[in-house]
Assembly symmetry: C2
């Protein structure tokens, strides 16, 4: 290891909480990034096929210029009347179906999900929340109990459904949700909400069949609960099929949350909800978030929306996603270590036979200059999730490196 | 009202959740800001004596330059090894006494406080939390139950002490904390933590006598609980007596949280804790925060620390605070509407006879071109809290406007 890297690792261990973990057997000592590429302290470049925050590519000049311009003029909060949070809310709502009509701006998807759960409980007068068994919804005390993928126990009144990795239709998904409702009702708990990441990223990426979510949404509503679409991962064009993951399923959520990609790296997030929910909630509680909706964060989010439109990133996600799927498909058919290919747009899951194999492929790819991750039960699914701006030649490089890494792991596994 | 302002208000009502509220009878339509001044859409300039986020002044060029520079190079998270979060943690720890030794970076004071409470409960194995009766600690579901100033009920296992507005010594403060411990123990709840804003901002600004906190800290520790210093408001030099509010009280907290001023407007916050707490916590839980510790946010925080040092802002807070106190003192002695003057550095509270009078003075000052706020029981205390960069001539303008506003309210109140 580079001596600078060794020294920085030691400094990090001294001052940062050990609750933080670094990726990879050999951590990446990142010193710069541009587009879909991250460069380390040794000058080695990595194709970033993992990070879903820099949706328009790392260090996008237009988004940076918008932030710098706004930073020099005004950066303040929502207790003064300013145009940018209003403009941002208008732009977000223009991408969303009625009756989704009111916006709250926060700093993180965690803050947005935390508030969504609170509102669902206040508005239904019920407590029960349904999540999937590998769900991740955020870092707050409330949400850690709704994020079983962390290994922590479910929170009070939280019930998990076992998400199958084989495709389920709307009826089967409805039956899963109804089963959770029955279990909670047997405990005397009534349902407040079903919250799911609409591409089930931490469950191992479960996109198909499009439409299966609808059954669960019907089931939760029939039982008096709300449907919260956690769009922190699939939102902002990731699936290549419009701005939001839920549209592939033909449903309209009661609340939508977004975060990670929203400011291409700037901390900005949002909760968008039905008008009536916002109105009723505001009768019993105020909500203010110091940095939520601050001018520079809004400028970053508006510029990100502009870049997604002007650079055709949703179309690109659809086209590059198809290329990747087409290129991965024969590799999966040919390898005994890989069992399934799932996903939509540029959110792709490759099922492997075990968490050990997935980790070996992730680390082999890292040595081969491509960054991906693992997710799902036992971390056995590979998670491929590049910036939406990835090019044809970069997808080609990714596929070549992937084939080499799988071969390498197959050979060493014999 | 300016027709543009009327139109923007209507647009805002259409798209932002009504749970947001605007300041003042006539909201400020802010279009730009610089130093201690905010300008509205009519070109009217306001001396900002309220905002504790732009601690170095609005739109500080050096902090903006640091953000823009870093934004063009790298903006990524703590799962890669990067220098900036390490450097920021080192810089923060250099301002803090041992055994405070480990840092977690978040986006907001809310996220930092939420995690601090979680850790205090996990590490003590107890649930009871003590807050003051007008406390505000954040927006998350957990923290709203620890923020009685919002008017919401206390959360489960949360106990409030009635904070007197007359000065209390360490023994009296110890008795208040012990009383809360007795009440919780009578309910079968054992204490996990005492959390206070060390300048008691939302309680109406209670700074003196310096040292009174020590009694309560002893009491909570004797009962097996931890002391969390919420430095979101007093931290980063606000009190003019070093970086942190707790130092005036001669105590060393088990955990310290900071947020608002940390990035001069950029969403960045931190939890700093004893080494052993971080080590033990990390054995049972991981913690990752997507934007927490991201490169641009760290660059903003590092530049803010540089500016505080290089521009001597802590000294300035001490000197300008003294000038304001000296100027306010005769006004309070002369007015039947004003009953007390409290504070430290540039965090000043002026007690008025009622919330109506406080609101009338706040609105008269707004018409007179100066922005302040109200806080405390019944919102009867005026809260004066300018950027730490306020100049001598600006404090003079503030005092003149204050005297005029009080006279105006006195006349109309006869």
């Amino acid at each position: 290891m580079n001596p600078e890297t060794t020294e920085l690792l030691a400094r990090r261990e001294r001052v940062l909480s050990p609750s933080y973990r670094l990726f990879y057997e050999q951590p990446i000592h990142a010193v710069r990034a541009q587009g879909c590429w991250i460069e380390d302290a040794d000058g080695q470049r990595y194709l970033d096929a993992y990070n879903n925050v820099p949706v328009a590519g790392h260090c996008h000049p237009r988004i940076l210029a918008a932030m710098a311009q706004q930073g020099g003029v005004l950066n303040t909060h929502t207790r003064y009347l300013t145009e940018l949070p209003v403009l941002l809310a208008e732009r977000l709502l223009a991408t969303l179906p009625e009756p989704l009509g009111k916006v709250v701006l926060t700093n993180s998807g965690s803050e947005a999900n935390d508030l969504a759960i609170r509102i669902s409980r206040l508005m239904t007068g019920q407590r029960g929340v349904i999540v999937t068994d590998c769900a991740y919804h955020g870092t707050s005390d409330l949400l850690q109990g709704m994020s079983p993928v962390t290994g922590l126990p479910l929170g009070p009144d939280v019930y998990a459904i076992q998400m199958p990795l084989v495709p389920v239709g709307p009826e089967q998904f409805a039956a899963l949700v109804s089963g959770a409702i029955e279990r909670m009702e047997a405990d005397g708990v009534m349902p407040a909400a079903l919250i799911v990441d609409t591409i089930f990223g931490s469950d191992g990426v479960i996109a198909d069949p499009a439409g299966f979510l609808a059954g669960g949404v019907q089931a939760i509503r029939k039982a008096g609960g709300l449907f919260i679409a956690d769009e922190v991962q699939p939102g902002f064009g990731r699936t290549g099929a419009g701005m939001w993951g839920f549209t592939r399923h033909g449903v309209v959520p009661d609340m939508v949350t977004t975060g990670k990609p929203m400011g291409n790296g700037q901390p900005v997030a949002a909760l968008i909800m039905r008008d009536t929910l916002a109105t009723e909630f505001s009768k019993i509680q105020r909500y203010f978030n110091t940095f939520g909706g601050s001018s520079v964060s809004c400028a970053a989010a508006l510029a990100t929306l502009d870049v997604i439109d002007d650079e055709g990133l949703i179309d690109n996600a659809a086209r590059m996603g198809k290329r990747l799927m087409a290129g991965l498909s024969p590799l999966i058919a040919a390898s005994p270590l890989l069992t399934d290919l799932r996903g939509a747009g540029l959110f792709i899951g490759v099922q492997t036979v075990s968490g050990e194999i997935a980790a070996a492929i992730v680390n082999a790819l890292r040595r081969g200059g491509v960054l991906i991750g693992a997710a799902g039960r036992g971390n056995a699914a590979l998670k491929i999730r590049p910036p939406l701006a990835i090019s044809e030649s970069e997808t080609g490089q990714l596929l070549e490196a992937f084939a080499r890494a799988v071969n390498e792991v197959q050979r060493s596994n014999k």
